[in-house]
Symmetry: C4
Subunit: 220 residues, 4 copies
């Protein structure tokens, strides 16, 4: 009799996590390459240098900090979910790859928006990539928590639903941010800044001790 | 008495996987650096910006998505094979290094083809790197599954052969794609796009429970 | 009854370390991209080439070596602390992310200072990023060692305090270096060079064997 | 009583390996960024394109392949040594960091030599970085195998010496290559190409089964 235990083999999830960590680390560090390095002329005073720096580098630095934190808040939640996964299936792997595709586009959309701070197109591109990344993340969460049931069985259904109710708001908030760009890009940017903060404080997944005990008894 | 148990030591394969994951993660993320960041002039309308974007960035974005998925489908299969490897030998290590060499050339050939979409030479370079990468991958698979027999012994010979029959088509499909470029590069591109999709659905390697039981008895 | 054992799950800290290692590795390797690659004209003599190299590449090379070692001495201490951590909490995760933000800015500030070796602004930026990185590192140490008590319980309180007394000097030394830039940037650079050396020889954290024994008895 | 068991803690060596793998992966993948991406004019024939490609890209591609393999043969030996290390000390950590410093300079020296194929200075820089990297590697090997005795005790002293005798030749071969550049850079390049090949076939470290058995008895 043949069976397919790929995903159950030890190390099944380790490499998907290693690849993801690599892409996250590179995406957030590459951002620094987009900051132009200033070269002051010989006779400029400190005040002139400061004004030049504020005009040319400060927007880039703010965009860098902004997107760096954005990418790593995605990472924190990616990590939190991965801690309670019992095993992966093929669908999770491909959803994760598409998620990484959007994460690795963030350095491009960041530089695009910084260069064209008043352009609705640049703003919409920035928002769209975040919207698509969070949509795929929500899809992945739904698949793992409810459809394929790949979480550790001890994670309570109530807490799975509580987390789901909050993460589902992500894509909509980014869509609202894109729409707000029709009024002013600065309203969009405020929403882009506040949305990740709301994802810093997701409700935690609870572990049911009873189920844990039942499982232990079962194993004995 | 002296023996050579290098490859059997714990962690023997972990670092080859870590290096590979690193190269995969960098190769697919570096692609984004090849996309030129647009800078619109002050007075351009949204329509003008959109047309400029479609003309200058959209081909780059499509090339990015295309090669990103191409690289990571190689990764998925690299990962699937590594899960059933019992141990590495020196030949596998060097084949893996040459495989990584071709993977890390993909960002270059992607940018080359995008800049010269009508050039047969650029198209042939793109196809050749994919062809060589998949040739080395097939060679590595053949070595691990049949010649040096480094797979877990429970993996059935029938399923090893079934997978081999499909992966062997890879290099030939890429060669056909290069040839098709003599007619039109767009035919090549369709084949480049379809080939990885066929590798998303490789038959799985089966585990023989009987052999597993025999082995368990043997160990007791 | 529900509890929150996230941080206790196996692998809880592994990925934060993997992400950090990725950012450290990229930050120190990206530095090399900032060195301009010379292209000598056909008829230049070896002496002319050497003088051109000394003028154009040598400052970049020195800046590269300098910041490479700076980043990796931060890594050595990051690694030393992580070895004695029993578990992570959310605060440590976010402090670590902000720490990585400053580490990944070092390639920018290095290139900024190299291009403008006489500019107080460039010097202050270089020092400020190091000062902020070490401030967050000290904060993280304080949180782990004293406030949240997340170190292994065997690590003696006396040695925790001994290490703290030395690391607390870091941010102040970098502030003094910035101030010294008002006199001469070269004084600052000497302080930037000496400060990491002082962090190469931090007192080690001691393990109390008695506590270890008590704990063992307690567990039995 | 207090002791210093840092290096004995689980995971002590994992992160040094993870950092090293990251730097190796980035150094060899960054090389591809140094290859200029051709953009052919509209009316050029295939023959013209091919000649332009051979003139502008082929030297870069050869330099890429060359240094990629050079870096990863260093990695193979780094990996082989790490497999038999029982634990790390501070000196090994710092030698490893300096070793990584030279590895991460290889993308720069590769591009420098490619741009100035006839320059003795570029050739000497390329050779010097390889010479210094292998000198630090030999120093690290000597420290681990003989001085601090950090290898697994089962590794026979005879095989440790056999490997040492071969690796010690590395720095001298690279020095000879630099000297040969006074005659012709092409002689140097042949030596640069042959030296890593000689490191592909280092004698293996043997394990003494008797000592292993003695140790087992000792532990019982």
């Amino acid at each position: 009799m043949a069976h397919h235990p790929h995903a159950f083999l030890p190390g099944a999830s380790k490499r998907l996590e290693a690849l993801s960590d690599g892409v996250f680390a590179i995406a957030c560090t590459l951002l620094v390459l987009e900051i132009e390095i200033p070269e002051f002329e010989k006779d400029t005073s400190l005040t002139q240098q400061w004004m030049e720096f504020c005009h040319a580098q400060l927007p880039s630095l703010l965009a860098f900090i902004f997107s760096f934190l954005n990418i790593l808040i995605f990472w924190v939640n990616h990590d939190a979910i991965n801690k309670v996964i019992a095993r992966y299936d093929t669908k999770t792997t491909y959803l994760n790859i598409i998620f990484l595709l959007f994460i690795s586009l963030i350095p491009f959309t960041t530089a695009f928006l910084r260069n064209n701070i008043d352009s609705f197109l640049a703003n919409a591109c920035y928002g769209l990539v975040l919207c698509l990344a969070s949509t795929v993340a929500v899809w992945m969460y739904h698949h793992l928590a409810f459809k394929a049931k790949l979480f550790l069985p001890e994670v309570t259904m109530a807490s799975r639903k509580r987390v789901y109710k909050q993460v589902i708001s992500g894509p909509f908030l980014f869509l609202i941010a894109i729409g707000a760009g029709l009024l002013s890009n600065y309203i969009s940017i405020v929403i882009y800044a506040l949305t990740p903060i709301s994802f810093m404080f997701l409700p935690q997944l609870d572990f049911d001790s009873k189920e844990e005990e039942i499982k232990k008894e079962h194993n004995e």
